[in-house]
Every structure is written in structure tokens, then in C-alpha cells.
Symmetry: C2
Subunit: 398 residues, 2 copies
């Protein structure tokens, strides 16, 4: 099976190829840097596809990861290990150079993602069943702390919106608990918990801004968002964008947008409107809406190119074959792309020269030059969904 279709030749030889085959007795695949590696989730077959963003190619696959229908991935700070959070509660540690599963635990009945501490020592999983957060030693996957989301006696809440914060801390939201908790795992044997209660009805997802300052949760049960300024001397919850969510009556909502995908570019944040064919523009000083940009469908991911000069948007059914590119200086759409059927995710290379886009129903990952907007290469991947590059290890809140 020919996995790769090169659409443009690389004019200069690629550094990563230099490492191949230099040492007899050492598998060529292993003597290489990990800074340009990544994984693509094979949603249908429980397989992780390994990619090289310099060669723009598939370089291997690892199967046996269970149900990956809503999987997410974080990386060790050296870029050697991927930690894959499966929907079925599986937490799998994959060695990207050996291309094999090194450890795997079934840590919950139903899980929805996780995070890794800034120092790389702790992996945290957010669980629906049983509702709570479990903390693991990143090396051994030994459970080092279990924090049930018990918001009332005997009642556990689903946990959503888990993010890492500086200093072995994590923040997350309790869907039934209407709460946000910030935990400090400096000593995993004695986890400190700071609880913010009554934040609003049913927080369903959340994000932390790239500087780690503002934790923002979307509310399913009412309009607006709950925000905490974590740098404040006495952090407290405030409500922002009170109209956010008002679109729910106007149009059927095919898919709740991912907040994690929010773009923060310069002094503006770009948000998917719920149920509307619009991207909202918000001033990050006042947290007031300052504009709306009409787009081709209900936005799902609204993501900034690392330099903030462009924002890329994908859409829910029935417009999920399209991707639109917004120029943040003019606040207008500069291009509508159709990279394939059922676009599920996008991931920028660390310096933003390319974006990788998965088209599930075309079994394709497209690699697009963000300057020329030309397609550089296409990779054949069965039912691709999430795309994650090791450069995430160097970023907060990813």
C-alpha cells in the first residue's frame, strides 16, 4: 500500500534522514531525534499511526490500543513516549522509537482525556466512570493518586476540561457538580484540592489560555462561560460572554464545539459559536465580544496558526468536508479548502509552516502549506481522527 503521495519535492535534503543507518546493531528507526514526530489516531481500528513531520511521511504503526473513538494524546517531555487516553478507560504508554506499547492500564470504565504535568513526572486522566481524576507516575504508570469527583456525599461527577497548570497542578470541571477544581500534586500522597463551586450549570469542556492564566469552562445548562483568573491573589469564578450559547435555540446543534481548540491570537480569542455559522471574536482584556465572522458551517475547532496570523476552522455535519482560513488582520475568510470528507482534526507544525488535517471518511491526512495554502502531501490513514505532534510537550495546556 502506497502510503504517501508527494505533491511537491523537497528542494533540500532533510536533516532527519541523516540519522538513518549510521550504526550497525542499532535499528535505524531508533537513532533519530523525536522533535518532529507525531501520531495520528486510527479511530476505527485502535491503531496509532506514527508520523514524521520533516519527511512528511508515515513511519510506523502501533495497534492494540482499544477504543480510540474519542482519544487524546500527551507526550513525555523528551518526546519519546506518547500517552494515549482511550474512550474505554485505557491509558497506554507508547515508545515512539521502539514503536511498541511499553505499558498499558485500564484505569477507568469511561474516560475522556488527560494531561501531563509541566515537569513530565505525572500523567492525569479525567474520567466519566467512575467520575474523578487519577494521577499516574509517567514512567511506570503506577497509580499515585486517586481524586474522586465527589461533589455531594456519595455522588461522583463526570470530569471534563482537564488541563495542566505550572507546578504539578491540574484544573478540571465537574459536569454534574457545577464546579471547577484545581489540584496540587506536588506531593501525590497528599493532593491539595481548591474547589470553586456553583460555577454554572453543567460545565461540558474547558481550556486554559496559552499563558496558563485563564481557565475557561463552557456551560451546557445555561448561557455564558465560567472563567477563573488563576494569577489573581484570590482566584474566583466570574461569568463572561453571557450571550454565549444563545444560539442553541436558533439552529440544531450537531456537535458541541471543542473549547480546547480555541484560538488565542494576540489580544483576541476566536471562539466557535454554538449552533451558528459564525466564529466569535473576543477581546482577551475585557472578555467581551468584539466581532463575528460568518463561516461555512457550525464550527468545531477554531485554531490559531502558532504565530496568530491565521485562524483555521473546521465544521460539524453537514459541512464537515470544508476547512476555512481566516486572516486575523482583516478578520475575513481568505480561503475555503476541501481536503476530504469528515474533517475531524487539525494540527500545526510547531513553527506553523504546515497544518495536518484528518479526513476520516476519505481515509486521508492532508499536509497543507500555510503560506501558499497548497497541499504538500497526502497520507493514507484508515479513519484518521486526532493528530498530535511531540512539540505539544513543550506547551502549557495542551
Amino acid at each position: 500500500m502506497k502510503r504517501r503521495h508527494l505533491l511537491a519535492s523537497a528542494a533540500v535534503t532533510l536533516p532527519s534522514l541523516a540519522a538513518l543507518g549510521l550504526l550497525p546493531g542499532c535499528a535505524a528507526s531508533m537513532l533519530r531525534g523525536t522533535g518532529d514526530l507525531g501520531v495520528v489516531i486510527g479511530r476505527a481500528n485502535g491503531t496509532l499511526y506514527l508520523v514524521d513531520t520533516t519527511a512528511q511521511a508515515l513511519i510506523g504503526e502501533v495497534s492494540g490500543l482499544g477504543d480510540l473513538s474519542h482519544a487524546s494524546v500527551v507526550f513525555s517531555r523528551d518526546g519519546l513516549f506518547a500517552y494515549v487516553f482511550g474512550r474505554d478507560g485505557g491509558l497506554t504508554q507508547v515508545n515512539l522509537l521502539e514503536r511498541r506499547i511499553t505499558r498499558r492500564v485500564m484505569q477507568a470504565g469511561n474516560s475522556i482525556g488527560g494531561a501531563i504535568s509541566a515537569d513530565g513526572s505525572l500523567v492525569a486522566a479525567q474520567n466519566y466512570t467512575p467520575g474523578g481524576v487519577k494521577i499516574f507516575d509517567a514512567h511506570t504508570l503506577a497509580l499515585v493518586a486517586d481524586v474522586p469527583a465527589e461533589y455531594a456525599p456519595g455522588k461522583l461527577s463526570k470530569v471534563v476540561g482537564l488541563v495542566d497548570l505550572p507546578g504539578r497542578r491540574f484544573a478540571y470541571s465537574l459536569f454534574e457538580g457545577n464546579a471547577i477544581w484545581v489540584i496540587d500534586c506536588t506531593d501525590p500522597a497528599r493532593v491539595g484540592i481548591q474547589k470553586f463551586e456553583g460555577v454554572g450549570q453543567q460545565p461540558y469542556d474547558a481550556l486554559v489560555t496559552p499563558d496558563g492564566r485563564h481557565y475557561i469552562a463552557g456551560l451546557f445548562g445555561e448561557d455564558g462561560l465560567a472563567m477563573i483568573d488563576l494569577w489573581a491573589a484570590e482566584p474566583k469564578v466570574q461569568r463572561i460572554l453571557s450571550g454565549y450559547g444563545k444560539g442553541q435555540e436558533a439552529l440544531p446543534v450537531y456537535k458541541m464545539p471543542h473549547l480546547r481548540g480555541w484560538a488565542v491570537a494576540g489580544r483576541r480569542a476566536y471562539l466557535p459559536a454554538i449552533g451558528r455559522h459564525e466564529v466569535l471574536v473576543v477581546d482577551t482584556d475585557t472578555w467581551k465580544e468584539v466581532g463575528r465572522i460568518p463561516v461555512a458551517g457550525q464550527p468545531v475547532f477554531v485554531m490559531a496558526r502558532p504565530d496568530g496570523r491565521q485562524v483555521w476552522v473546521n465544521f460539524s455535519v453537514p459541512d464537515y468536508h470544508r476547512v476555512q482560513v481566516i486572516d486575523t488582520q482583516t478578520q475575513t475568510i481568505v480561503k475555503t479548502l476541501e481536503p476530504g470528507k469528515a474533517v475531524l482534526h487539525m494540527e500545526f507544525t510547531p513553527r506553523g509552516e504546515s497544518v495536518w488535517i484528518s479526513s476520516r471518511d476519505d481515509n486521508r491526512v492532508s499536509i497543507i502549506d500555510t503560506q501558499t495554502l497548497a497541499t504538500r502531501a497526502r497520507l493514507d490513514v484508515p479513519s484518521p481522527s486526532g493528530i498530535f505532534f511531540t512539540s505539544r510537550a513543550a506547551r502549557l495546556g495542551f
Copy 2:
């Protein structure tokens, strides 16, 4: 020689250690990720000291790099290769896993640093003698383009302030030419040059903001700075901070501050005042000064922790045993540290939990926890100067 003094034990085992010794026939040192590697310049002996920021330890050394008295380093996008620009015009490619020099060329008589293109394919060196920029294939170090800085017939200018821009472009300043050039090396056989002339007297160093938008050059021959908005439809030079440099008469200037170290945190930039015991605070929208923070000496590097919550400052003679930490919310000094004699450089880990500080005259690198401000470890390194981590490969303008 005991190289490492651990001041605090790591409570949890470290991921990078997991990779050691797994494969017979493959040197243990090579099967590992490169995301947490870095180098420390051994200024006095032409040696590169290799470090691991997870283990907080020295892991090797590579000698034979020539004159490293003002050396700087960039990395391949996979994190496998360091490119070391020596003062003597040497450009050395070091394989960090094999711990050896893989290629070395003497490319100029006197050189002052370089950059790598966003796609990792091209390495650019800025030279004093002969004045100009040379472009090399990052893999082979073959010369692919030579761009003399000929600002008048037969007259070559020293080149300073070279930075990478998106799309195989670079920007730099001509000291004698009073100019800024932006070159496009998409096709190295036909380099496009955009010249901005009369930018001001003797630009001596420059930087590009983290988003790649504003190129700013300091002027040795007059007050103020020259700035270009590279995102403008028709970029042009404007003068900002007209008082900048006025300090030159007030106090003897022991060392011109490095502009490359400028901190941009949120909407503010923090600049070293020239010849004054002050850090200037500038609004990055208006590029006007909005405040001054008194500090312990003439600042050299003024660097933001990656999240922008702190700014760290070191100083020139005679105050170069001190480092000060500014809280950007209160704009005040929260701590004065004395990590050793002759502090030359600082480097943050990618998510900012630690900062590494070189103290040349104490032959020491200190690793400091940026939350507690406690020293976590000290490494013995002969005459250390610049510290560079592979995570720079993922950042623009570094």
C-alpha cells in the same frame, strides 16, 4: 569529577530514564528522546557540554569547536543536531545522540551567530568578515547561497541581528550599511532581497517578536530603535522609543545589552535600558514606554518565563553576580539571587518550571525552580556561557 550536585530529590522516576539499556547492540545513550536535551557553551575550551533537562544532569561533551567566545546555537527540527556558530567563523553540526561532530566548515573569518529556517532545511550564518550572510543546506552544510552585504559598490557591511521568518525567509541588519534586509531563500539559487535603507545609524543587534511580526533593531549611532511591521501590506521602517539609548551619556556602558533577550509578555515588552539600572516597560500596541523598573545593575538579558508571569534579568560588570526576578503583574522585583560569579546567560525549560543560569567564573550552571526560586541542582561546567535547549527548534526567532 563529580559533575552534579542534587539539591532536591525527584519524587517520581523520570521518563527519560526508561529508555536506557533496553536494546543490546544499541548504545544506551542513543535510544532516547531529544526533546529534553540541550547544550552549554564551554567558552574557554571550545567544548559543548550536553545536558538533559529532565534528569537535570550533564550527559556528555563534544570538543573541538574552535573559538566559542561569542557562540550561539540553533537546532534541527527533530532535535538531533545542534548547529554551533563560533566567533572564528566555524559552523559545526553536532549529533547530540552520537555526541560527536558530524560536519564542520570554516565559513567566514569572523562570525556572530545564525538561524535556521522554519522548515529546518536551511541554516544561515551572519558574518562580520567578509560581511554578509551565507546559507547552508542543514543536512550537508553545503553552501547553497552567499549574500554579501554590499551596501555600496565594493563595500561590505558587518551583519547583525539575523533572525528566521516564516517561509524560508530571514531578516538581518547591516551595521555600516544602516540597513535592514529581508531575504527569501525559497529557491536558494535565486535569493530574493528586500532592502530597507536609511533605517538609522549603525544597527547593532535586533530581534523579531515571538509571533514573527515585528523586527526591531537597536541603533548604536543614535537614539531610538528601527522597527518594521512585517505583516503590513507594504512593510516600512518606523522609529520607536526615540529616547532609547539616551542613557549612554549618563553612565559608562559596560556591555551593550542583547536585544535578542527582550521579553515580550502579554501586551508588554521588557527592555534593558542602556547604561542605566533600569528595565523599560513598553506597550507593544503603541510601542511607547509605559514604565521603568529599578534593578540592581545595567541589564544585559531581560527574559520572560514562557508564560510571561515573570521576567528574569542579569547584569553587566560589576553587578554580574546577581539575577533579579520581576513579577509582571505588580512590576516589582520579587527576588534577588546570587547564583555565582559572572552570570552570562539564562535559559528556561520549555514550559518554564525551571531556569538554567550559567556563572562563568564559578564554573557552574545553576538550575532554579521558577516557582519556589530554590536552587534544584548545580552542575560543574568549565567557564559556561550560552545555554540552549532543543525546544528552541519549535520556536520562531530563536
